[in-house]
């Protein structure tokens, strides 16, 4: 199976070259996210009447903000890249890969995840330096929790990507979904227990416990871990199924390469 390695390397290289050529875009995106973070941070301080905001509030906000930033990057990579490929007229060429578009897309998702992690590591460092609150970066605990959290987001990305295949011009809906993510993360799980089954909600809670509370992944109640795994698996599976259905509809309507 040398073929898949060739495709994987080619997609990685293409994405790297594109990343370099769109460096200004990447840097300006990072700066924008940082500015938004500053606004939220100083906003919270003001909201508290100028009093010193509690350390845990700031720390929770950093965790939530970075996880949200990672989520919208993952989600937009999936949904936006399909729209973009259709727009620039290369989507059908990717579908001509004998290993299937799914494989090409998966390679792209891996490469974009690497970029995403790097991008958000910088944002996290900047946020911690600005607030003076240094969080615990326990990679052993964080990696599975973050990946599983993003799994659910990938599911939403696949579903919206599928809609993009059929309807193409869905930018309005696409942007609204990004803000719905904020809602998923803001719901207090102790007040609304069923909200733990929403995408991002349990992941955000567990990431906060690791980074702010210093807990390790093996200290979590089994029920919480099961919730995290099940929500990731279910949303991902639903998203992939929705994408496949949309692919079929697009092939039937002949809209795969149209924009």
């Amino acid at each position: 199976m040398k073929h898949w390695r060739t495709v994987f390397a080619a997609v990685l290289y293409r994405d790297l070259v594109m990343f370099q050529r769109y460096a200004f875009n990447t840097v300006s995106g990072l700066i924008t996210l940082y500015i938004v973070f500053l606004l939220i941070f100083f906003g919270i301080s003001k909201f508290d009447g100028g009093a010193v905001v509690s350390a845990s509030t700031v720390e929770s906000m950093i965790v939530g903000y970075v996880l949200w930033s990672m989520s919208i990057a993952v989600y937009s990579e999936l949904a936006w890249s399909i729209t973009n490929e259709a727009q620039v007229g290369t989507l059908e060429q990717l579908y001509l890969c004998p290993l299937g578009f799914g494989f090409v897309n998966a390679c792209h998702l891996v490469s974009s995840l690497l970029t995403n992690v790097l991008f958000n590591a910088v944002l996290l460092l900047a946020a911690m330096a600005t607030t003076g609150r240094w969080l615990l970066i326990d990679l052993v605990s964080l990696t599975p929790v973050v990946l599983l959290t993003l799994g659910g987001v990938y599911g939403i990305g696949f579903a919206v990507g599928g809609l993009a295949l059929v309807y193409k011009r869905i930018q309005g809906f696409f942007q609204i979904v990004q803000f719905i993510f904020v809602g998923f993360m803001m719901v207090p799980l102790d007040v609304v227990p069923w909200a733990r089954w929403l995408p991002l909600a349990m992941g955000n809670e567990l990431a906060r416990r690791i980074m702010v509370g210093g807990q390790r992944v093996w200290h979590f109640p089994v029920g919480d871990l099961v919730t995290l795994v099940v929500t990731a698996a279910v949303y991902l599976a639903l998203g992939v199924v929705a994408f496949r259905v949309a692919e079929r509809v697009a092939r039937n309507r002949g809209t795969l390469g149209q924009y």
Partner: protein
């Protein structure tokens, strides 16, 4: 260039399309392709010819699995699209009409390497690398390897798309409207290069176009489509011969009398009769060779003196228009 095609065709038939139907759903369903059947032997160069909306692109996309056929079967080197899409795509590449087909932000070389890699053909292999370089040189792109595609002219962009498809080294290549929007010089170059490549590398080319000159210059055989149906499937030479033997241009002084006009119309209702500077120019298609004697008789009986008579040298454009006209009349 000595190309080693990556997928060795096991069958002598490169492409089979059998009873293909495609209806695009909607409030008013569109019957894009109706009962289309044809096959292409390996190593052949055929043209899919037809006006806009004839169903050419839909057929290509059905074969490649980009559009789902309503019914019918398409096979590439024996592999059926619906059951073995991976095998079909291993043997086929395409330049698709109406799409850029390349990344304009990437350079010429990056595009060729990327799209070839999708078929497992990597520039890291020296043989493939040499092949890419040779192909680019053949298409006159050797001096532009590091140029981003967006900086190239329309013609050069199209050449990059064609090279990127050929670089996948598949035994079957679809070129959907490869000369659309090209200047005369680039179109001419492609017309010269494509048959050369097919001959040198033993590839099967399916060229969809409504540019008759391209098809006549490049293809051995042509499948003519109209309204989603195949209305002719023959070698270009045969189609030309069919019309060559029976099409005539005559010139005569003065206007034709009414009985002569009626006689001419009885032989060919679509005959063109024009009077220019006192000379009648008549162009008509005779139903049989013997009809020429009947034409001469009726003109002589009407007192018309024939000054010149020339057997028209038909081109594919003429054959195409005639076939489409007949098909429309039949319907």
């Amino acid at each position: 260039m000595g190309a080693a095609i990556s997928v060795t065709p096991s069958a002598s038939v490169a492409l089979e399309v059998s009873g293909l139907h495609k209806v695009f759903p909607g409030k008013r369903p569109v019957h894009a392709v109706t009962d289309v059947t044809f096959c292409v032997p390996a190593g052949d160069v055929i043209g899919l010819l037809g006006p806009n909306g004839a169903g050419k692109t839909t057929i290509i996309k059905c074969v490649l699995g980009l559009v789902r056929a309503t019914s019918g079967v398409t096979r590439v080197f024996g592999a059926e699209t619906s059951n073995h899409p991976g095998r079909v795509l291993s043997s086929a590449a395409a330049v698709l009409e109406g799409a850029r087909n390349t990344y304009w932000r990437l350079t010429v070389w990056e595009n060729v390497c990327f799209f070839a890699s999708l078929h497992g053909v990597s520039a890291r292999d020296p043989a493939h690398r040499r092949y890419f370089e040779g192909l680019l040189a053949r298409f006159g792109l050797e001096g532009r390897l590091k140029t981003p595609v967006r900086e190239l002219s329309t013609g050069l962009k199209q050449k990059v798309a064609v090279v990127s498809a050929l670089a996948r080294r598949t035994p079957l290549v679809f070129l959907d409207e490869p000369t659309l929007g090209l200047d005369v010089e680039t179109a001419y170059e492609l017309r010269r290069l494509l048959p050369e490549l097919a001959r040198d590398e033993g590839r099967t080319l399916v060229i969809s176009s409504h540019d008759m000159h391209v098809v006549q210059a490049v293809c051995r055989r042509v499948v003519i489509m109209s309204g989603g149906r195949v209305i002719a499937d023959d070698e270009v030479a045969n189609l030309l011969a069919l019309f060559r033997s029976r099409r005539y241009r005559l010139s005569m002084p003065g206007a034709l009398p009414g009985d002569a006009v009626a006689g001419v119309r009885s032989l060919d209702a679509a005959a063109r009769i024009e009077v220019e500077d006192g000379v009648t120019k008549l162009e008509l298609q005779l139903p049989a060779a013997a009809a020429l004697y009947r034409l001469m008789d009726l003109l002589r009986d009407a007192g018309v003196v024939v000054e010149t008579i020339v057997q028209s040298e038909p081109d594919l454009e003429h054959a195409f228009l005639e076939l489409v006209r007949r098909e429309r009349e039949r319907q």
